[in-house]
Point group: C2
Chain length 203, copies 2
C-alpha cells in the first residue's frame, strides 16, 4: 500500500500493514485485511496478540541438544532420563508434537529446522545436521529414525543423513510408507500404492 504518500494516510495503520506484510505468505491485501480487523476488534484481543508475540520471543528458545522449542534448557524430553536411546530426526518442532501425540515412540528427537532443498538455497549447512552427527557420536543411540517428510526435500535429506550415519555404525530407519489409515485405495497415487504393495505384511 502506497498510502504513506497520501496526506490523509494514518501512519499507525500503514505501519501495522507493513509489519504484518513481513510475515511469510501475507501479501499487502491480506495485511490490510488483518490490520483493519485488529483495528475494529476488541482492545483485549489486540493486547493479547501483542503480548503473545512478545512472550514467545522472551520465553521460548531452542534446546541446545535437540533444537526443539522449549522454555527450559535442556528441554523436557532431553532431560527425561526414562526416554529410550533412540533419536527420531524431524524437520520441524510441530513434527515432534505430532509424533509424541501418537504414544508409539518413547525416544528422543532432533529437529533439523528444515530439509535440504538446493532450489530454495537450503544446503546441509543451514540445518542442524552437524549437531546431529555429534550427538550420535557422543550419545551412541541404538537407532536413528529419519522421520523427515516424504516429499522431495525430505527424501533427499533422509538419503544424505543415511549416508552420513551408516559409517557411524548406528542403525538407521525410516517410517513405513503406505496407505494412510482410513484411506481409499481408489484415490491413492501410484507411488504410495506401489510402496504399499512392496512393503506388504504377511497376516
Amino acid at each position: 500500500m502506497s498510502s504513506s504518500t497520501s496526506g490523509i494516510a494514518v501512519k499507525p495503520v500503514a505501519d501495522l500493514i507493513e509489519e504484518l506484510g513481513r510475515l511469510p505468505g501475507i501479501g499487502p491485501k491480506t495485511a490490510s485485511r488483518l490490520a483493519f480487523s485488529i483495528l475494529r476488534g476488541p482492545r483485549e484481543d489486540a493486547v493479547a496478540l501483542a503480548e503473545a508475540i512478545l512472550t514467545v520471543k522472551e520465553r521460548v528458545f531452542f534446546c541446545s541438544r535437540c533444537f526443539n522449542i522449549t522454555e527450559t534448557e535442556p528441554c523436557a524430553i532431553c532431560s527425561d532420563s526414562a526416554r529410550d536411546p533412540i533419536i527420531c530426526v524431524v524437520e520441524e518442532p510441530l513434527d515432534v508434537l505430532a509424533l509424541d501425540r501418537t504414544g508409539q515412540f518413547k525416544g528422543r528427537y532432533h529437529v533439523l529446522h528444515g530439509a535440504i532443498s538446493p532450489i530454495d538455497g537450503i544446503g546441509p549447512g543451514k540445518l542442524r545436521i552437524a549437531e546431529l552427527i555429534e550427538r550420535v557420536k557422543s550419545e551412541k543411540p541404538d537407532e536413528v529414525i529419519l522421520a523427515t517428510n516424504l516429499d522431495m526435500p525430505g527424501e533427499a535429506t533422509a538419503s544424505i543423513l543415511h549416508s552420513m550415519l551408516v559409517p557411524l555404525g548406528v542403525r538407521v530407519s525410516r517410517p513405513a510408507t503406505g496407505l494412510p489409515a482410513g484411506g481409499d485405495l481408489e484415490y491413492a497415487d501410484d507411488v504410495t500404492l506401489g510402496r504399499a504393495l512392496a512393503g506388504r505384511r504377511t497376516l
Copy 2:
C-alpha cells in the same frame, strides 16, 4: 492445534498460535506457520509487530463525523474547510485512500464500514447509514456519490441509500460503470460490456 494436551507442549507458542488463529482467514495451519516464523525471525521484527498492533489500538480511532480512520478528531478531511460540499459514501477506509489518491475528487467522505448483506447478517443497522442521513440533513451537501462496490452487497446498499436520500432533496450519483482503463474488450464480462455500451459517450 491440540498441543496444549501434550506434556511437551510449549505454552507461549500454543498461545500465540491461538491468538493468530482469531484473525479472519487465518486457520490453525497458517497460524502455526506464522507463529514459527515469528519465533525464528529477529527479535526486532517481533517487537516492531507487537508495538504496531498496540499503537494502532492506542492512537487510531474512527472520526465521529465521517467514520474514516483518524488520529485526530475530527479527521484531516473533515477539518479541511477547503473541501467541496460533496459527500462520497464508501464501504471501507481503504476506499477513501484509493479515491483520494486519484486527485479527481476534492469533497468529503462517509465510511459505512461494510455493505448490506442479509446472508452475512449485515443489515442497515450495522452500518453508519443513520449517521449519513443525519449528516446529509445537517450539512446539506450539493451531492452524495454512492461509491460502494459493484458487487451484490454494494449495489444493494447503493439502491437502499438512493431511496433514503432522494426524499431529502439531495442529488445522488454513482460512479460510472464500464471497461477499466487498460482493459481488454475480449475479456470483459457481459454485464460490464453491456453497461459500457449503454453508457457510451459521444466523442
